[in-house]
């Protein structure tokens, strides 16, 4: 789900080599180089920024925490990584990637043009990955203007096919991220209390996940009357007895994302809330039950819609969508919508979610599942509704 981008990815940044050994990237590099050769290009420029870094992290494990980065992958020469950092930041940047040639830049066009000339590629056929959706137009105009002899081709689709084949390393990393989300949800059971504010409660949840080496944490919530309207970033609302709380968490660990959503009530649930939460939970369960490799995602959306039923509730639920692929990007193909054309990838992960608003209350259910050829298993356990009996003085 879309979440609010932070001004800086500021969690624990390092390369966990036990989780993602160097060999993983050697294999991926060979696959990318084979794809470059098959395309007839000399090299590909793979671009990413702090908002969308999946393509560049797939090959390099590098993640831009603030601005952007670009990797030139040649079909048969070692790659070069350009990072939008200062010269003094290069030692720290190099700890995040296996790539040996990491160079700083303040103006991307200048450094890209220099690199392409240095490699003798001024008249080559070059592929572009990630540039259409993320590279600022002003930078592209400058690069293209300086290199009139290059033949450019967008290779997003070819790269997407490479990334769609999820390797065991990616699945392992997603499981590690799921463990951090689990800790966040566990903390939420204690953090949400009558008398505290949403900001204080989510600070505790955020802390628990950052202490578990989260690189980035995104939290959306709703409480009280907000539950009937929409999710939002945490604010200073005080949680009162009987308040309904919707919690959505997205966490990045070692560049890989996992999401989950959960509904709580501070006290006993009303029959209406119990019914709504059960509906949201049933819709997620229905998607998980139907998820298996290669089936069209529209079937999953249909299963969720059937479980929701009520046209009024469906309107809100469709606005959020019912989920998407997840991994190196928080939101990967395929989007789970009735109008989507994608199919479920084998060995990938899906973030499933259902958010309902109606009658002044709301419910959110969601979990990330690992998809195999014959079914899907939950990586994060959630239940439709959790009743909490916490107060600020700690009495339960």
């Amino acid at each position: 789900m879309r979440t609010q981008h932070l001004v800086l990815k500021r969690g624990g940044f390092y390369w966990d080599r036990a989780l993602l050994p160097r060999e993983v990237f050697d294999t991926r590099l060979r696959e990318v180089q084979a794809a470059i050769a098959a395309s007839g290009d000399e090299a590909w420029l793979i671009y990413g920024d702090a908002q969308g870094y999946g393509d560049i992290a797939f090959v390099s494990h590098f993640v831009p925490r603030l601005r952007s980065a670009l990797m030139l992958v040649h079909r048969d020469q070692p790659p070069t990584l350009l990072a939008n950092v200062g010269l003094r930041d290069i030692p720290a940047s190099k700890t995040l990637t296996w790539c040996e040639d990491v160079r700083p830049f303040s103006r991307l066009p200048h450094e890209v043009v220099k690199l392409i000339r240095e490699r003798g590629l001024e008249k080559a056929k070059l592929g572009l990955v990630g540039t259409e959706q993320a590279l600022p137009i002003a930078e592209w105009d400058a690069i293209e203007g300086e290199l009139p002899g290059v033949t450019w081709t967008v290779r997003d689709e070819a790269f997407r096919r490479l990334r769609a084949r999820k390797d065991p390393a990616e699945r392992t990393a997603v499981r590690a991220a799921a463990e951090v989300v689990r800790r966040g949800l566990e903390t939420a059971r204690e953090a949400f209390r009558v008398g505290t504010t949403m900001r204080r409660a989510t600070a505790l949840i955020d802390r628990a996940m950052r202490l578990s080496a989260a690189e980035d944490v995104r939290i959306l919530v709703a409480s009280g009357p907000q539950c009937g309207i929409a999710l939002r970033p945490p604010d200073d609302r005080t949680l009162t007895a009987g308040a309904v709380i919707l919690l959505f968490i997205a966490v990045e660990v070692q560049r890989h994302w996992v999401e989950a959503a959960q509904t709580y009530v501070l006290g006993a649930a009303s029959p209406e809330l119990a019914a709504l939460a059960a509906k949201a939970g049933a819709a997620v369960d229905a998607m998980q039950a139907g998820a298996r490799a290669y089936i069209p995602v529209t079937l999953l959306a249909a299963a969720a819609e059937k479980a929701i039923g009520d046209p009024g509730l469906l309107h809100a639920a469709r606005a959020y969508g019912f989920g998407h692929g997840i991994g190196l990007d928080q939101e990967e193909p395929p989007l789970i919508e009735r109008s989507s054309f994608g199919s479920v990838p084998e060995n990938g992960a899906l973030a499933l979610h259902v958010v309902l608003h109606g009658g002044g209350i709301g419910a959110a259910a969601g979990r990330t599942v690992a998809v195999e050829r014959d079914g899907a298993t939950a990586l994060v356990t959630t239940t439709p509704l959790i009743e909490l009996h916490n107060s600020l003085d700690g009495v339960r």
Binding site: R2, T3, Q4, H5, L6, V7, L8, K9, R10, G11, G12, F13, Y14, D16, D49, A50, Q51, R65, L66, R67, G86, L87, R88, D89, P91, A92, T95, T131, E132, Q133, A134, L135, P136, I137, A138, W140, T197, R199, R200, T202, A203, L204, D206, R207, R210, L211, A213, I229, A230, L231, R232, P233, P234, D236, A316, A319, Y320, V355
Partner: protein, 382 residues
């Protein structure tokens, strides 16, 4: 948490900002200004949509401003439209699916007076910029400087928020000093500081905390464990209701050496001399010159450049506005109510990188520090 803004009416403050922007548009003969924001929040870039609406987006937003009359905000994702409607500066709002944004903007821009100008093209991704150009029958003229020209100085509401962010930064550093201990991982320390600031009201944080016996520069926290004698450097930058303040300090896990004390005194003198010239009417370059002068006098002139330092400070508050980075070649002239951080952060061969900096507001008589943490080297027994 201290509640602010009781003394200043937010809606009136936003209304005055809009009126000044619209006056700027008329002056430049712009009938309608289309402001694009990508949703990639960044300390170094002004969020022009937030400045006029008080709405901090989740994804792409576009604000359509007529030279006279009410602006219209277009919000993605569509489910965020009700939150936008609650924002104090939003009168008219429409939701759009990300894939449908350009069409919705073209439709909403139809009643705008001509000629149109566009702010934010330079940050538009390639495909989006092409779609805009195609939809509007060519590239629109650049209107990117109209809002920053107005937003260079802080309004009362903005100043109150930056003051609150500064107080939160002080709380964050106090927590750092209390919590840091041998054996703790850097990212754990960063998480603890972040939690304290979030609980105090911070919604975001441009926070960098690193440690080592001899730091080369500030960097993101890693999984390294703190050791006795570590120099912990912190660039603590909480955001309060959209506005950032920054505090830079150095903390030693153990007794500081005489050399560390001596060199830190040099940074203190540099901060004082830089601050002394930060007055309305002065070129911002003078701050950098004054700071560098002290460091050069101590024999480190050759270290007053990259990679040993980056800049002597920069504007702060709502992203980067005038005077931007404080370097010896900076051109902007300081004016009352500009806010910035002045930080003579410096690598020295004997001590490694040490940090010192405060957020200040420029007042007629000089700068007033908004961060209140004492200006000294901090330490505690390991």
């Amino acid at each position: 948490m201290i509640e602010l803004e009781a003394s200043v009416d937010l809606r009136s403050d936003l209304r005055r900002r809009l009126e000044r922007v619209q006056a700027g548009m008329r002056e430049q003969r712009v009938g309608g200004l289309i402001v694009y924001y990508r949703g990639q929040h960044n300390m170094l870039r002004m969020d022009q949509v937030f400045y006029l609406t008080d709405f901090r987006s989740i994804d792409e937003t576009v604000l359509l401003i007529p030279a006279e009359g009410e602006p219209t905000l277009i919000v993605t994702p569509v489910w965020d439209v009700e939150r936008a409607r609650e924002a104090a500066g939003v009168v008219q709002v429409r939701g759009a699916k990300p894939s449908d944004l350009v069409r919705v903007v073209v439709d909403a821009a139809a009643p705008l007076p001509r000629p149109l100008a566009l702010s934010g093209r330079e940050i538009m991704p390639v495909a989006k910029a092409r779609a805009f150009a195609e939809a509007f029958g060519g590239e629109l003229p650049d209107g990117g400087q109209i809002i920053p020209a107005v937003g260079a100085t802080r309004t009362p509401v903005e100043l109150e928020r930056i003051e609150r962010a500064s107080a939160i930064a002080d709380e964050g550093f106090r927590a750092l000093c209390e919590i840091a201990h041998v054996g703790m991982r850097e990212y754990e320390l960063a998480a603890e500081v972040e939690a304290v600031m979030r609980a105090a009201g911070a919604e975001d944080n441009f926070g960098l905390i690193a440690a080592g016996r001899h730091n080369v520069a500030i960097r993101p926290p890693s999984d390294r464990r703190l050791e006795a004698g570590d120099v912990v450097i912190g660039e603590i930058t909480p955001m309060y209701r959209g506005y950032l303040a920054q505090l830079c300090r150095t903390f030693i896990l153990g007794e500081p050496t005489a050399l560390q004390q001596e060199k830190y005194q040099m940074l203190i003198r540099a901060l004082q001399r830089g601050s002394a010239v930060a007055k309305p009417g002065t070129r911002s370059a003078e701050i950098a010159r004054a700071v560098n002068e002290v460091i050069a006098e101590a024999g480190y002139a050759e270290y007053c450049r990259q990679p040993y330092m980056r800049t002597r400070g920069h504007s702060l508050g709502l992203g980067a506005v005038v005077p931007y980075d404080l370097n010896e070649d900076s051109g902007p002239v300081l004016a009352a109510n500009m806010t910035m951080v002045i930080h003579p952060n410096q690598y020295l061969p004997e001590t490694g990188y040490m940090m010192l900096g405060d957020t200040v507001v420029i007042e007629p008589g000089g700068p007033r520090a908004l961060t209140r943490t004492p200006i000294r080297l901090f330490w505690k027994s390991a």
